[in-house]
Amino acid sequence: MSKDSLPLTILIIEDNLGDFVLLEDYLLEKFDVIRIFQEESFDGAILKIKSANKIDIILLDLILPYLQGGALVEKIQEYSGDIPIIILTGYTDIDLAQKILSMGVSDFLIKDEINPEILYKSIIYSLERKSYINGLNKTKKTYQDLFNLSPQPMWLYDISSLAFLDVNQAAITKYGYTLEEFKNMTIRDIRPKEEMESLDDSLAQRVSKDAYGFAGVFVHRLKSGKHINVEIYSSNIEYNNKIVRLVLANDVTDKLEYIKQIEAQNVKLKDIAWTQSHVVRAPLSRILGIINLIELESFNSEDLPYLIGQLKLSGNEMDDIVRNIVSETKLLNLNGLNNG
């Protein structure tokens, strides 16, 4: 039978030399490229784990001098990180070993039943399981990071109690509450009082339509008391075996403020255009009307000085109006600069 060529470094923590030699034989029978360390005491084992030798798997006798059972496992785990641990035990300790399984060890083997096959299988399973769990954890972490490290404020809330279940870093930064504070709050607590009705309307609508995506623009209140306008996107997701609502909030206060400014400028420009059309043309039409009249009258008419006086008045009036438009336009530019 060919040996497994998987390169492995195994630490056997076993104070009984006979048992160790037996284990070593079994391992050498199954693995081709293998390094085996033996440690007889807890302290020696810790030193070995902490050393530069990269341990792939630990075989641990449950009964060592001075330290046994659960306490032993717990102590080892403080140093072993994600190295899989296989417990070796006698018949008398089966109950104990079973309990210890729940502490996160990979497997337990009964010494009297160990043979090369059983040992080999247990080691391979443990390694496989470790890489699978690592993969799962990595995926989980990726998704958690997507939530936690997203630059957009996001949170999860319970659909019936409206309580915050989780809140990401961006939301904590934006709203000013700590995660603990958030977890003692409901989504009502980040709304100004006058917004409750629109919140209730929106929630009712979302429930009835099982809506997904854009929910609308709402006013939220920060811890500082400041109000912001936010675009809300939300959808249902499963979280800890429960359907909860995931919310993404996009602060559009500046955007809305900017639009408001542009709208105000538009009104002003419209005013100026209206002035052009109505106010400027009034004296201008008067001037042209007087000229029409002068053309009609004889040039030596006694009214001529009066009409020329009126021409002058209308000309000055128009001059004032045009100056006024120029200064208003300048004001518009200044406002734009100050706010830009």
């Binding site: 209206w274 109505h278 043309r281 009034a282 039409s285 007087i290 029409n292 009609l296």
Partner: protein
């Protein structure tokens, strides 16, 4: 049958220019001046005669009663169907909205832009002269 020209405008200079032009071209016509829509309506209330003929030149932007209020007022009076009043809106505005709005009153004959030339004066006064 008498012929009246009613000028409703808040600009006294326009009154002067306009009455002088009319005196030059049609010395026999009688021109009445009102400085806003309210005075214009009051004049009609007092002096309207179903057998006379009226030409009204109406400005839009005026204090107290503007041109629109005058048009609404005269519509309410129900004298337009007697067919003896012709209304021209005369404004210094070149605003298209104003022109559209003036046209929405079916009985407004035309919209003219200030200043009025002798030609446009002839056009306006034609119904009275013939």
């Amino acid at each position: 049958m008498d012929k009246h020209v009613l000028l409703i405008d808040d600009d006294p200079i326009f009154h002067i220019i306009f009455t002088r032009m009319i005196k030059k071209v049609y010395p026999s016509l009688n021109v009445n001046s009102s400085l806003n829509g309210k005075i214009g309506l009051e004049y009609l209330n007092k002096n309207y005669n179903i057998n006379d003929q009226y030409i009204i030149l109406l400005d839009i932007n005026m204090p107290i009663h503007n041109g629109w209020q005058f048009l609404d007022g005269i519509k309410k009076k129900g004298i337009m169907q007697n067919n003896n009043i012709t209304i021209f809106v005369v404004t210094s505005s070149t605003d298209l909205d104003d022109i559209k709005r003036a046209k929405s009153y079916g009985f407004v004959k035309d919209t003219l832009s200030k200043p009025l030339s002798v030609d446009s004066l002839n056009h306006v006064l034609k119904p009275l002269i013939n």
